[in-house]
Symmetry: C2
Subunit: 248 residues, 2 copies
Amino acid sequence: MKTLIDASPNHLRLIRKLETISVLGAEERTALAGLPLHVKDVAKNTDIVGEGFAPPDSCLILEGFTCRYKILHGGGRQIFSFHIPGDLPDLQSLHLGVMDHSLGALTATKVALIPHAALIEVIATYPQIALALWRDTLIDAAVFRAWLAGVGRRSARERIAHLICEVYTRVRAVGLAEAWEFEMPVTQQELGDSLGLSSVHVNRVLQELRRDGLIISKGRYLQISDWDGLKRAGDFDPGYLHLIQRDA
Amino acid sequence: MKTLIDASPNHLRLIRKLETISVLGAEERTALAGLPLHVKDVAKNTDIVGEGFAPPDSCLILEGFTCRYKILHGGGRQIFSFHIPGDLPDLQSLHLGVMDHSLGALTATKVALIPHAALIEVIATYPQIALALWRDTLIDAAVFRAWLAGVGRRSARERIAHLICEVYTRVRAVGLAEAWEFEMPVTQQELGDSLGLSSVHVNRVLQELRRDGLIISKGRYLQISDWDGLKRAGDFDPGYLHLIQRDA
DNA sequence: CGTGTTATTGACCAACATCAAACTTAGTGG
DNA sequence: CCACTAAGTTTGATGTTGGTCAATAACACG
């Protein structure tokens, strides 16, 4: 990985993430490194942005595990996506105004707020950055489609296996996982809310995956003991994540 | 609605659509009107773009009803979205290369192919157009979220009512529906594939909605007899479509 | 008219939900 | 470092939504 210009660790997180999905020039990296970041701590189980609000900045996740979700009429919750450090989960607010869902912290989280004005300026000056962010939005949509296919047409076992594969792949891409081992600090209730299942059923299926020797879970840590088996169980093909291949 | 510059009916379809979700200046409208459109007929139940391909152009729907979908490992099909005239259902291919799903025609369809090169040029010259298209992508994602919430957490009845509300609202926005009456040329099998239901169950729930006086369906034509009731039945709130209000 | 597609019905079944209780674990304060 | 507490996990019993299969009825179209 190329050595970088003068950039704070927080900016590096952003740059590194964008480089997993697009190619940036030195100029663009410098521009990104100059973005104003207002760091903020968010407590576990707190909203970062709530539905109905129109925040004046977009946020970059620096540490912690977050999700986008919505509470439905009947009281049920649907989680739409999980987000890890490097992600920009509310680019939406930059162009769409009022949030049609919420962004919440599943663990204690550190975020960096980036004023929309600063983003707009960078985008206007560096079209390549605009394209990279747009590309991020398109990938976002691709992930929603993958989840939709899961909830619509896959069994509970397939959905859970697929989700584990996805999170591992993404965490790995931004360099936050040891080989086959990573953190997934999500309760079984939250898993259920993301997969359209009850927590009870999630529990039983997880036991099944462990019994079958596909994963080992010790608390919030997950270890994948049989990647091929897990991929098969989840019918997982990482193409939809549109990650740039950076092989040695 | 403001009178327009010299533009073909096909270009007008595109301009009118984009004006439902963003504000364009005269300059932008003129640029859009100059885009090269290669019109093509597509037969019913044929793919416009197949999964795995990297088409050299994006397509604009001119006539007909289309959908994006994917066939899963087990043979099941998940439909991700329905598209109506004016939609640009594969902006994805402009930035992501290989398609991770297919785009198919549900009825005999007329599309206009727009070379990526032409789009890239227009985008580079008119940032406002880039923003409008990016905004379209964001709305696309918002619609996926709405569907995800439905399939994950709503009953069959709610999902079907919600989908009818959505399609009616969108068709209305581009001026393709009489009051309370519109065309929805989708089989019950296709409805099921979009909602994560079997066609048998879709059939029964549709009967229920008719019995309850919410809709009347005569073949491919749908009439909404009780909009408020239907909205309530589907817990429908059009906010996620992010349409621009153009009241008289 | 005939033929293929789509809609409708009925009988039966399975995956997953719900409820409620017991058990574990992790975090906290003394 | 331990006891206490709250949060999360696990289990069992039972219920329900919606799936599957298969046959019949309605259409739509040439």
